[in-house]
């Protein structure tokens, strides 16, 4: 008797076990409305080799995204650790992490940077930040890593109704605009947002999180 069908059967059983054995942690959610964290107010001190950024209030995480717009109006971002929960230092030679190309006000594409010595040079974020300031281009801080992270939109059960839309504020920072009138309060968006851009209304009240005003549904 040929061994091929037996081997194929064993392989298909193993594949089935692997497929069904994928452990997916259950998403535990609370039935509260989501709240979007407000823009970060910060002061910037420029010197010859560093930019010292001091936040007005403590950040939600130990790291935060610092962005600046380049000549082609692309958003260039670097993720920096915070000292004492409030201070960030951008040094000469700090390379940017990714760049977002925009189409009008939406993100068209993004590029994650990898510096390969001798092959590809990184974008020096310090120089870009100084250049952005000199040319009066926008720069600042943001919690959200859109378009790299789209988890809130991926899990939203009513995303087709346009409940979550990614917008840019007047400082150029991306944030999720949530239209509460269409929100079913499933709580998935703030359960998956590990960046702290979206929090539950209960946590926001408890921790006194400064929030953005709720977005209003646009007429189609």
């Amino acid at each position: 008797m040929s061994k091929t069908p037996i081997i194929l059967f064993i392989l298909s059983v193993l594949t089935g076990i692997c497929y069904f054995g994928q452990t997916r942690p259950l998403l535990k959610t609370e039935g509260f409305y989501p709240v979007v964290r407000a823009a970060k107010d910060a002061s910037y001190q420029f010197s010859t080799d560093t930019v010292e950024i001091t936040l007005q209030q403590n950040a939600s995480l130990e790291r935060i995204a610092v962005f600046a717009y380049d000549r082609e109006q692309r958003q260039v971002v670097v993720v920096k650790p915070l000292r004492d929960g409030k201070k960030i230092t951008v040094r000469r030679g700090d390379f940017a992490d990714y760049r977002v190309t925009l189409d009008k006000d939406t993100a068209a594409s993004f590029e994650i940077f990898r510096e390969i010595p001798g092959v590809r040079k990184g974008v020096d974020f310090f120089e870009l930040l100084v250049e952005a300031r000199a040319a009066s281009r926008r720069y600042g801080l943001q919690d959200c890593l859109y378009p790299i992270c789209t988890l809130c939109m991926d899990v939203c059960p009513v995303i087709k109704h346009g409940v979550i839309k990614m917008k840019r504020d007047e400082y150029g920072a991306f944030y999720p605009a949530i239209y509460l009138t269409g929100c079913p309060r499933c709580g998935k968006c703030f359960a998956v947002c590990k960046l702290g851009a979206i929090v539950s209304v209960r946590d926001a009240m408890k921790e006194k999180v400064p929030a953005r005003p709720a977005a209003k549904m646009e007429n189609k």
């Binding site: 076990i17 692997c18 497929y19 054995g21 994928q22 452990t23 997916r24 942690p25 790291r63 971002v77 993720v79 920096k80 650790p81 000292r83 230092t89 040094r91 030679g93 390379f95 992490d97 990714y98 994650i112 990898r114 510096e115 890593l145 790299i148 992270c149 988890l151 991926d154 998956v192 590990k194 960046l195």
Partner: protein, 159 residues
């Protein structure tokens, strides 16, 4: 074929099977049997915005080793924090690359921001934003961030 060659051949074959068998067994023990289906295409390596090599999480699951060192190209943290996490963590500050403990002993400021060159899987998991970009880019859609989420909870696999 001479008799002892045959024995050697069978012995080597059995050893190789036993060695390779460790990986699926470990993958089942950690709770991520799908990890054996990863074929190391390295697409996820270019997907992480903070420079983590997500394939390292799969290797950690395959070897059931939360202390497996994952390559991190530009994961930034304070030197004191790096030393507190793991004094043997290789870090770089400018052109200087050495272990975090040695760098602190050599007189570099503890407040200095350094780039982690490699970090243990259980520590990297705490830095991962769980944005899911690695899982989205994966050609066979492996839920890599589930491993990171699991490791971030208690530094180990399973409940």
């Amino acid at each position: 074929m001479k008799r002892y060659f045959l024995y050697f051949n069978i012995g080597a074959y059995c050893s190789a099977i036993a060695f390779l068998g460790i990986f699926p067994v470990n993958a089942f023990l950690t709770g991520y049997p799908w990890a054996i289906t990863c074929y190391n295409c390295n697409i996820c390596r270019l997907a992480c915005p903070i420079g983590i090599d997500p394939h390292g999480f799969i290797v950690a699951a395959l070897t059931n080793d939360p202390d497996y060192y994952i390559s991190t190209s530009h994961l930034r943290l304070g030197l004191a924090q790096a030393q507190a996490l793991d004094k043997d963590m290789p870090v770089s500050a400018g052109k200087l690359t050495m272990k975090a403990g040695k760098m602190l002993e050599s007189g570099v400021d503890a407040e200095r921001e350094v780039n982690a060159v490699a970090m243990k899987a259980k520590h990297v998991a705490k830095f991962c934003f769980l944005c899911g970009n690695c899982a989205r880019r994966c050609p066979i859609k492996l839920p890599i961030m589930d491993i990171a989420e699991d490791l971030a909870k208690d530094g180990g696999f399973g409940e």
